[in-house]
């Protein structure tokens, strides 16, 4: 809500500056987001009388105006010719400034004629958005008068963020009430006055409300002989500053009254209303009408319509229709001022995706008591601005509800706020708010005016007390927490996994969890959850795996010339399980590029073994064992991937991307990734036990054993047999070399293990060790055709 300061002061004559008011209102809950001064840069523009308008000697389009400035004559070149001798126009002479131009004006030659400044259009002065012609000022302005002062443009605008609970702040009077409550300044709201004709409104038009729940009150005033003129310039300036577009005096009067009172109003061209009469009813399912913006709207049975006796003429509380719209030809007006039920307006506004000044107010709650005042104020203005004649009375159906009373215990208020509130304190707050109240022991009963739709129960009154007394009066104490704080294991576990991945040298990322259908296809997901109203189609689903978006992050980095990418994410993945959503935490990582870009790195690039190393580090850090199962299909490289197994059950994937998949994703080089399902890891990790005792006291016998095997014998199989054959004396076994090529025959490779043998109770003798080695060699030869290399 944009509130013009001079307008506000008409109702509450506060001495405070705009900035002081802004701070005060903010501290009371009407947050002033900005103080603007639309005419701050307007300086030195005066009224001038046009003496002569003649053709520009060197231009067909331009003309030259000679004007009287009050103290002399001057000439300016003008691009339009809507002014005539005798008109009073705005002159910005050399040195003057107008809001729309960055520099002060100067005399300059335009095609051979010196122009001493310019005549101004309304938009150049910030009066309206019109740039069609020079602004013609009222004839009674003396040439030489400073326009900023004469038009009251030395003004400020408070831009107030209105919270949904305070729709009364969507009006100048509503803000004025709050200023009066906050400052103690008087509040003066004059009753609109205007003469009424003998002819009665209810003899001219009828009103029938078929749905009184959705429209508790409908009041129509009738006006005749409404002249089509522009509203006064200061009014246009106020409307523009308040964020509305001046249109014509009649329309401006309804908007002006709405901004002032908070009551949305709608003028219909009486001549275009069949009957003439108004029927308020629900739309028929699929009924159509064209609204003022020229769009044909399809309605539902839940939408409320304003109709004449034959057809819809407005979507109630949202927007008028084209058929009875007022125009230049309009002379008689039926003016609507009504109450509509909030929820219905909101549903219609949502369905039609059509938010207007009216719907915005109705869906938050308009003061039901303001219906007559809104109409009367607009009538008063139309009488003044358009010479309208107002018919006597109104066609008025329904009425405002009774005011409710709400009670507050001062003991409860004191307890909740944390300082002592007496009944007298409370009453003084409600007095300032202009609410009637009554003390009854420690209880204060308060009558709630119609504009305070937010006050329903005791706590709402307690809020008023602390709000008006000031939040800064509240002390600072601490509640008596009588428990130890802590983190549930599920949450702590995610932190542990993050920590391990960071320790493994990866950088944590957080990515948006939306994916596209292509992303789902990439990971073969068939049980993804669709978002019904995504902002973009690429974000139409919830991720089932962290990998697709992780790969996109990898790609972004590669495109930015990042040499080495090693990233991970720990986050939720979503699936539909038996028709219900399931959320599971997951961890995924990706490595690509040069493993160590430094001078010692030798240019080695990340591959599947780096990913596997990360996995091993995580497993070790969690005290669990992860095994590797069968190779994976797409999107993985069939020869460089494996399922990750925990106790034989698949809990994740590991591998390099299939080269053609990588290419399709615009990724180059080897991309090594892994993903783990965390709940199952957590279960296993929770069972892991660390035993700190029994560090061996006797020295090991270390033997380096190299076995030559067929290349397709997995190293893990060799190690498994070795471990089994070595039995209890095996203390450690490290695969330290893998070798293929000369002098080995093709199809063979050598796997070298450093084997530590140790007895827990004695120093192992070399004969015993030799026996173990022989046993290992024999088993491996028999089971895997391995040959122990010697020498």
């Amino acid at each position: 809500m944009r509130v013009v300061l001079s307008w506000l002061r008409e109702f509450c004559p506060t001495e405070l500056s705009a900035e002081e008011l802004a701070e005060l209102l903010t501290s009371k809950g009407a947050e002033v987001e900005a103080v603007e001064r639309p005419w701050e840069r307007l300086r030195g523009v005066i009224a001038a009388r046009v003496l002569e308008v003649r053709d520009h000697p060197n231009s067909d389009r331009l003309c030259v105006a000679r004007v009287h400035t009050g103290s002399g004559e001057t000439e300016v070149v003008v691009g339009v010719r809507n002014m005539a001798p005798g008109d009073i126009v705005p002159l910005a002479g050399p040195g003057a400034m107008v809001p729309l131009l960055p520099e002060p004006l100067a005399a300059r030659e335009i095609r051979g004629v010196v122009s001493n400044g310019m005549l101004c259009a309304p938009d150049e002065l910030g009066i309206s958005h019109s740039h069609e012609g020079i602004l013609i000022l009222p004839p009674d302005l003396e040439p030489g008068t400073d326009l900023k002062r004469a038009l009251g443009l030395d003004d400020a605008v408070l831009d107030i963020e209105v919270t949904p609970n305070r729709p009364d702040f969507l009006s100048v009077i509503g803000i004025a009430r709050e200023v009066a409550a906050a400052t103690g300044a008087p509040l003066r709201i004059p009753e609109p006055t205007f003469p009424e004709e003998e002819e009665r409104a209810d003899e001219v038009a009828t009103v029938r409300v078929e749905d009184p729940e959705r429209c508790p009150r409908y009041l129509a005033r009738v006006l005749r002989d409404v002249r089509h003129v522009a509203s006064p310039i200061p009014v246009q300036a106020r409307l523009t500053a308040a964020g509305m577009r001046p249109i014509s005096a009649a329309v401006d009067a309804t908007n002006y009254a709405m901004l002032e009172v908070g009551q949305p109003l709608h003028p219909f061209d009486l001549a275009l209303l069949k009957g003439p009469g108004i029927v308020v009813r629900r739309a028929r399912e699929g009924e159509r009408m064209v609204t003022l913006d020229g769009v044909e709207r399809v309605l539902t049975a839940d939408d409320l319509l304003i109709c004449d006796l034959e057809r819809p003429v407005a979507v109630a509380g949202v927007m008028g229709g084209e058929v009875a719209e007022i125009s230049e030809a309009t002379t008689d007006i039926l003016l609507e001022s009504a109450s509509f039920e909030r929820g219905g307006i909101q549903r219609t506004r949502r369905r039609l995706e059509l938010s207007t000044e009216a719907s915005m107010r109705f869906e938050r709650g308009v003061d039901p008591e303001a219906v007559p005042r809104g109409a009367d104020r607009a009538c008063e203005l139309m009488v003044a601005w358009c010479g309208a004649r107002v018919l006597s009375g109104a066609v008025d159906v329904g009425r405002a509800p009774e005011r409710r009373w709400v009670s507050m215990r001062t003991s409860r208020a004191s307890m909740l706020i944390g300082y002592e509130v007496t009944p007298a304190d409370a009453v003084s707050v409600f007095d300032r708010l202009g609410m009637r109240s009554r003390i009854d022991g420690e209880v204060v009963h308060v009558e709630i005016p119609g504009y305070r739709v937010d006050i329903e129960r005791e706590v709402d009154l307690i809020e008023e007390v602390v709000r008006i007394q000031g939040y800064d009066r509240v002390g600072a104490t601490l509640p008596p927490v009588r428990q130890a704080g802590g983190v549930p294991e599920t949450v702590a576990f995610l932190g542990r996994v993050r920590e391990l991945l960071v320790r493994a040298g990866l950088r944590e990322v957080q990515l948006v969890p939306f994916v596209s259908e292509t992303d789902l296809a990439l990971v073969g997901a068939t049980d993804a959850i669709r978002i019904t109203n995504p902002l973009q189609a690429e974000e139409g689903w919830l991720r089932t795996s962290l990998l697709p978006n992780l790969l996109k992050a990898v790609r972004r980095n590669l495109h930015r010339q990042v040499r080495s990418v090693a990233i991970f994410e720990v986050g939720t993945v979503f699936r539909l399980v038996a028709g219900r959503p399931e959320e599971r935490p997951s961890a995924a990582f990706a490595l690509t590029g040069v493993a160590d870009p430094g001078w010692t790195g030798g240019g080695r690039v990340y591959d599947v073994f780096d990913a596997k190393g990360v996995l091993e580090a995580v497993a070790a850090g969690l005290g669990i064992r992860l095994d590797h199962g069968e190779a994976l299909g797409r999107p993985f490289h069939p020869g460089r991937s494996a399922a990750v197994l925990l106790r034989g059950e698949r809990v994740g994937v590991l591998g390099e991307l299939h080269p053609s998949v990588a290419a399709a994703l615009d990724l180059t080089g080897r991309i090594a990734v892994g993903e783990l399902d965390l709940p199952r890891l957590r279960e296993a990790a929770s069972e892991a036990r660390i035993v700190g005792a029994e560090i061996p006291r006797f020295p090991p016998v270390r033997r380096d054993l190299a076995f030559v095997v067929d290349v397709d014998v997995p190293a893990a199989a060799v190690e498994a047999v070795l471990r089994e054959a070595a039995g209890e004396l095996l203390d450690a076994c490290l695969l330290f070399d893998v070798f293929e090529g000369d002098p080995l025959p093709p199809g063979k490779r050598s796997l070298a293990f450093s084997v530590d043998l140790r007895a827990p109770d004695r120093t192992l003798g070399s004969e015993e060790a030799d026996a173990v080695v022989a046993r290992i060699a024999e088993r491996l030869a028999r089971e895997l055709g391995a040959e122990l290399r010697t020498g």
Binding site: G29, M415, G485, N533
Partner: protein, 348 residues
């Protein structure tokens, strides 16, 4: 051997030996010199062996001389060996030299995401005050996300944040971590002191200050006799733990359907201490929404709203991270740009 000849031999050998030792250029040379002059086949050994056949007087005299020569040569050998060894070590060190200005061999550095860092810090402050961390699902139902929080279907507050719905009827991506308040109260009886960090979702076009996904930390305290002053004191303690002991908090009235009275909470700027700067503008950093839990919300969870009162607060993790690290574009948090993430290697 004649005594005279033996004496000459010893004298000559001493002179030659000392010279050879002095001239030895390497430890190998030196070893060769030792063998030549004191080895078994050296003239000195020959003299030594012949001593037995000499008359006693000559034997005594020549024996002493032979010992003198050996001592002289041994001494010279040891001295020269020490010299040569020192030289050899110098040489070794010289050839082993490297350019220590070359960059070190660094383990691959990992780093936490700034939002993780900030969230953990916020949560840590409250767990140290005795709060427990509570969780809730990211996909919520209408009851927990809206209705129980005093936001009925037609409530205007629903229009403030457009929600993202999923294709299971009645479910949506939660718009506030406040839903966790309800889940917590449904699960346990008072007293309740919890914080709930988590992701929330909005149907919002992404720009420098808005995202469709962001993080909040929600706090809830429900107990007998909890007051608005307790809320203020708690947030003051929090702000001081997060931004320094000099911080002040300022509460202004604000509206959230699930609290009454409601407040917007600002903290005096940690950079300019409230005088106004580039980061805060007017000296205050708006950080939280807060208020006393609306009695309707307590009632919705089956609590006795006469007996129990409480406060709730919520803050945006991104907001805190942006202020703390001077990040001016929210999108940086969700891009995965390694160049951005590197900056947080040093964050504790």
């Amino acid at each position: 051997m004649e005594p005279e000849q033996a004496r000459r031999t010893l004298e000559t050998e001493r002179e030659r030996g000392l010279r050879a030792i002095a001239e030895a250029a390497s430890l190998d040379d030196l070893e060769r010199a030792r063998v030549t002059f004191l080895g078994r086949r050296s003239p000195w050994s020959e003299v030594q062996r012949s001593l037995g056949s000499l008359p006693p007087e000559a034997r005594r005299e020549l024996g002493r001389l032979a010992n003198e020569v050996k001592a002289a040569l041994d001494g010279a050998l040891a001295a020269r060996r020490a010299e040569l060894e020192a030289l050899a070590e110098d040489e070794l060190l010289r050839t082993d030299r490297v350019d220590v200005t070359l960059p070190g061999r660094r383990p691959r550095p990992g780093s936490f995401h700034p939002l993780t860092i900030v969230q953990e810090e916020i949560v840590g402050i409250f767990t140290r005050m005795g709060y427990r961390v509570a969780e809730g699902p990211e996909i919520e139902d209408d009851w927990h996300n809206f209705e129980a929080l005093n936001i009925p279907p037609d409530h205007p507050a629903r229009t403030m944040k457009d929600s993202l719905y999923i294709d299971v009827p009645g479910l949506l991506l939660r718009t506030e971590t406040s839903a966790v308040q309800i889940r917590t109260m449904e699960r346990q009886e008072p007293p309740v002191y919890v914080v709930a960090p988590g992701r929330v979702y909005r149907r919002e076009a992404v720009d420098a200050t808005h995202g469709s996904v962001f993080h909040q930390v929600e706090g809830l305290a429900v107990d007998e006799g909890i007051s608005f002053a307790d809320l203020k004191g708690t947030l003051e303690a929090f702000a001081r733990a997060l931004f320094g002991p000099e911080r002040r908090v300022r509460l202004n009235p604000d509206y959230f359907p699930f609290v009454e009275p409601g407040a917007q909470v600002a903290v005096s700027c940690f950079l300019c201490d409230g005088s106004g700067c580039r980061v805060c503008g007017n000296g205050w950093i708006e950080l939280l929404g807060a208020g006393m839990v609306h009695p309707k919300v307590l009632e919705n969870c089956g609590y006795d709203a006469e007996r129990y009162t409480g406060f709730a607060f919520g803050m945006g993790v991104e907001r805190v991270a942006m202020v703390r690290y001077g990040v001016n574009d929210l999108r940086l948090f969700y891009d995965g740009d390694v160049r951005f993430l590197e900056r947080f290697e040093g964050a504790a």
